[in-house]
């Protein structure tokens, strides 16, 4: 076995040499890919890692010549070494960069020699054709199979990608599939013609961590079976550590460093690589800042208690009440306690009800049943759950929110000063010059210059926008901040910075945090205690270190074992699968 893989290791399938791709724009040419070279070997996985805008996706799209207009390859070579069934084969490798984007050759290569899977499987699968027909289409086009043969083969492929009851699944539509199933179907389609190269552009970014682990396992096993070269594009250092053989680090269109995965994690050459890897590792342990703060000051009294909170959503009302209304239970009798000065994490996968719980805690949603007791500054306790909406305003000043999406949560039509000043303005607390001073003070607290005040949100990057959102949250001097995935839309290097900012604000302003996230690493870094949610219920609550190292509930165990650790030496940890978590 070892001999065989060593032999294959030198078998280069695709070679990229000095590739340059440019996008002409009004203000000059933007060089998205700048002198990039690497090669793919049969049976090996090459990970291209970089933050958003680093040119990793454009590189992948250049290979297949499916660049968005007006992008074009300016120079360089993309040499495809194995080319089956095409006449010009004998002359040596084919240079894809020289082919016309609409030529017959490149079209026959796409899907047949080089297959690609994308981040969002919903938009890459047609919603009006059955899954089986979509795969069969590829087979009939490239392999010239008959309708019947192609259908049989697509059922076979769906079976290979681990979809249960493939014959029935082939007859269904993409919207009937879950995210993980869709990505599996996409992989089945990509594999249809037995390609020698698979390009995967962030295929697991939109998936939950347990589904991600399944899909990564699938790609791995198929690759081993077919001796396929995989170009895997990701921003997640953990994924890189788990699956890569070789790594290419990109930033601003340039390759900073490339090499063997073990070597690179052991001894990163470029400072940026070092920053990326240490950033991921730092997040995988408790923040020093938090531990220091807890050592100097104890956790305080109980300030927010949720008891048996239940939230039902009406899906459809029946006409004239003939049938009972259709109801979905978003939250099943969840109970939670928050102490002053602590950070409580709520962790779970999409659809587990964590955001619903966060919104209920603040009474943005009306509860179906249960109570939420909040004890205010004077120690008086009040049930937010049963309060009429008109009386919630003072409590909304004590309990503030930071939203997940820094693009959607800031009104694009208001300046930063207006956004940050709004809560103080509507309460009549401050106005005019005083308000302006307070806004500048708040911006300074979150590390933004005073000049930011007069700008509109579109002038800021994601990380800066999130700082604006934090400034808005701390404006009315709150006691609790409910942060709903505030870092998940940010690049890795910004995550730790944003979390550190929250921690330092906590010390200065005596805050408690309810931190909603799907990212275990963030929990470990930021949270003192954590509640694990699954299908609308809380399955486990406890000290975050204890839960991360010794989870009790089987679901927590499966969740933790699916998290890709940013260390290639920790591969192949036994995965725990939770029976109910299968898609």
């Amino acid at each position: 076995m070892n001999d065989l893989s060593a032999e294959n290791a030198n078998n280069i399938v695709l070679e990229i040499k000095n590739l340059v791709t440019e996008f002409p724009t009004r203000d000059g040419t933007f060089r998205a890919v700048d002198d990039v070279s690497f090669s793919l070997k049969a049976g090996k996985t090459l990970c291209v890692v970089g933050e958003s805008g680093s040119g990793k996706s454009v590189t992948a799209r250049s290979i297949l010549q499916i660049l968005d207009s007006p992008g074009r390859i300016v120079s360089g070579q993309i040499l495809l070494h194995s080319l089956r069934g095409i006449a010009s084969d004998a002359d040596g490798p084919t240079d894809l960069a020289r082919l016309k984007p609409r030529s017959n050759i490149i079209r026959s290569i796409r899907g047949r020699e080089i297959a690609m899977i994308f981040q969002e499987p919903m938009s890459s699968l047609s919603p009006v054709h059955r899954i089986g027909n979509q795969i069969a289409e590829v087979l009939r086009l490239h392999e010239g199979m008959s309708k019947k043969q192609a259908w049989a083969q697509s059922v076979n492929l769906l079976d290979q990608v681990g979809i249960s009851d493939p014959a029935a699944a082939a007859d269904r539509f993409s919207f009937e599939f879950s995210g993980g199933m869709r990505q599996r179907a996409m992989i089945a389609m990509a594999l249809a013609c037995n390609p020698s190269v698979l390009i995967a552009d962030e295929p697991t970014t939109a998936l939950d961590v347990t589904t991600q682990a399944e899909v990564l396992d699938l790609i791995k096993s198929i690759q081993a079976e077919r001796d396929m070269a995989v170009l895997f594009i990701t921003h997640d250092i953990g994924v890189v550590a788990q699956i890569a053989d070789e790594v290419v680090v990109m930033r601003q269109g340039k390759v900073l460093e490339q090499g063997d995965v073990f070597g690179m994690f052991e001894n990163p050459g470029h400072p940026y690589t070092r920053e990326l890897i240490s950033g991921a590792r730092d997040l995988d342990q408790p923040a020093a800042q938090r531990l220091a703060a807890r050592a100097s000051r104890d956790i305080g009294e109980l300030i927010l208690t949720a008891t048996d909170v239940r939230k039902e959503f009406t899906i459809s009302k029946s006409l004239f009440g003939l049938r009972p209304d259709k109801i979905a239970v978003g939250l099943k009798d969840a109970s939670l306690e928050l102490y002053a000065g602590e950070n409580l994490g709520i962790v779970g996968e999409s659809g587990s009800g964590k955001t619903t719980l966060a919104r209920c805690l603040q009474r943005v949603y009306d509860l179906s049943s249960g109570t939420i007791r909040y004890s205010d500054r004077n120690g008086e306790s009040v049930d937010l759950g049963s309060l009429p909406s008109s009386q919630l305003r003072p409590y909304w000043r004590d309990i503030r929110t930071v939203f997940q999406d820094p693009f959607g949560s800031l009104n694009p039509r208001m300046t930063v000063a207006e956004i940050v000043g709004e809560p103080m303005l509507v309460s009549g607390e401050l106005s005019g010059r005083d308000l302006q001073m307070r806004v500048e003070e708040l911006l300074e607290l979150v590390g933004l210059p005073a000049s930011a005040a007069q700008r509109y949100p579109h002038a800021f990057s994601g990380g800066q926008r999130q700082r604006v959102a934090i400034a808005r949250a701390i404006g009315p001097r709150p006691r609790i901040i409910i942060a709903d995935e505030p870092t998940s839309a940010l690049d890795l290097s910004l995550r730790a910075k944003t979390l550190d900012l929250l921690l330092s604000l906590q010390e200065q302003m005596d805050l408690s945090f309810v931190f909603v996230t799907h990212d275990i690493a963030v929990v470990r870094y930021f949270c003192d205690r954590v509640a694990v949610m699954y299908k609308g219920g809380i399955v486990e609550v406890g000290d975050s270190e204890t839960i991360c190292s010794d989870p009790q509930h089987p679901y927590t165990q499966s969740l933790l074992s699916a998290v890709p650790r940013p260390d290639p030496l920790q591969r192949g940890n036994t995965r725990v699968r939770y029976s109910e978590s299968v898609d």
């Binding site: 929110t401 997940q404 809560p423 700008r455 509109y456 579109h458």
Partner: protein
């Protein structure tokens, strides 16, 4: 790169001005890219200027008729005047023409009268009029140098009235009826669409079903019925307003739907939830946070609704159920070309139809451009 680095990078780049740009500035940047829309906008601007100063721009009183100039064909302006002795000078004029009737068939025929020219001048005195019904004036943009002479740049109608003057006067009614009608349907549309989208529930159901019923009704019979109910003896102004109300009562549905749709999608925006949590009152949320995000979309929808109003007025008047002579609108003018005889005798009578065509196209181009520019944040961010 740290945040501070990025910050200074933004500061020094040409995008620094963009950073301070409000939504209207961003929309204007986007709109300018849309050549056809800018062109349409300029045409519409010109049409409204013409409508505003119609009496001044029209060379004659639209109602003054001369029996000797029945179905006078259009005349071409010549700018260079050649003297008999070979010299020339710059004097704009038209060749005078004379009606000759065939003695047997009585068919009219215009022939040039040699040596007779009608000289034109800018800001000359002509038919007296009251601008906007207030200011007594007699100067026109173009007038014959000798008062009393007549010229027909776009021909004359059955009664020898100048078509150019009539079309220009018609512009005022036709262009304004669209604007006034849309304003009225906008008020209804924003109100009903707004409460429907904001409160949802039962109110939404009632409003939506009403809209669906309104849309299901065939519009032409509805207009016909409503206009037929108008007493014939109403004066022009009353009739004008009655028609406007009829048109907007039928036309508000589309706008109400646009407003409701925007309300629904904006309600779900995080920044609206954030505004609620900031402690804003309901009216502050609606007027400070939701409405500014809708205005640009509403303007685009309105621009696309105006041509429908213009077409409706034209259709009603053409059928004789809208405005009636002596009121002048493009639809009323087109009443003249309902029979084959007028078409044969004076094809230039179709001119108001051409104006409707140009106006509707210009509005559609402008509306398309505005709609594309309406959300300057859509392409950014995500």
């Amino acid at each position: 790169m740290t945040d501070i680095d990025k910050e200074t990078a933004v500061e020094n780049s040409p995008q620094a001005t963009l950073a301070h740009a409000s939504q209207w500035r961003l929309m204007w940047y986007n709109f300018r890219q849309h050549r056809l829309a800018v062109f349409g906008g300029i045409i519409i601007l010109i049409l409204y200027i013409v409508a505003l100063f119609a009496e001044f721009i029209a060379p004659f009183d639209p109602h003054s008729s001369t029996s000797k100039n029945v179905y006078h064909p259009p005349q071409l302006i010549k700018f260079i005047d050649h003297d008999e002795d070979g010299g020339w000078s710059f004097r704009p004029h038209v060749q005078q023409m004379e009606l000759n009737r065939d003695r047997v068939t009585l068919e009219g025929n215009y022939t040039p009268v040699s040596g007779r020219k009608v000289y034109l001048r800018l800001f000359g005195k002509g038919d007296p009029y009251k601008l906007w019904g207030k200011f007594e004036m007699s100067r026109h943009l173009i007038a014959p140098a000798n008062p009393g002479e007549r010229f027909y740049l776009l021909g004359a109608d059955r009664l020898g009235r100048d078509m150019l003057s009539r079309t220009i006067t018609g512009t005022r009614v036709s262009m304004s009826i669209g604007l006034v009608g849309v304003t009225l349907s906008l008020v209804i549309g924003i109100f009903l669409g707004g409460i429907s989208g904001y409160y949802r529930g039962a109110i939404d159901t009632v409003v939506q079903r009403t809209i669906e019923i309104m849309i299901a009704l065939p519009t032409i019979p509805l207009w016909l019925a409503l206009s037929a109910a108008m007493p014939k003896d109403w004066d022009t102004v009353t009739r004008y307003f009655a028609i406007t109300i009829i048109l907007s009562l039928v036309g508000w549905t589309e706008l109400a739907r646009v407003v409701r749709g925007r309300f629904l999608s904006l309600r779900a925006e995080d920044y609206v939830t954030a505004a609620r949590l900031d402690g804003g009152s309901q009216s502050r949320i609606i007027f400070r946070h939701i409405l500014p995000s809708m205005t640009s979309h509403i303007i685009a929808a309105v621009t696309l609704a105006i041509p429908a109003m213009i077409m409706a007025e034209t259709a009603l008047s053409f059928l004789g159920l809208g405005l009636l002579p002596p009121a002048v609108s493009w639809g009323v003018l087109l009443l003249e070309v309902q029979n084959i005889r007028s078409i044969a005798a004076g094809p230039w009578l179709f001119l108001p139809g051409g104006m409707v065509l140009i106006t509707v196209l210009a509005f559609n181009f402008l509306g398309d451009g505005l709609r594309d520019a309406a959300d300057p944040y859509a392409s950014k961010g995500h």
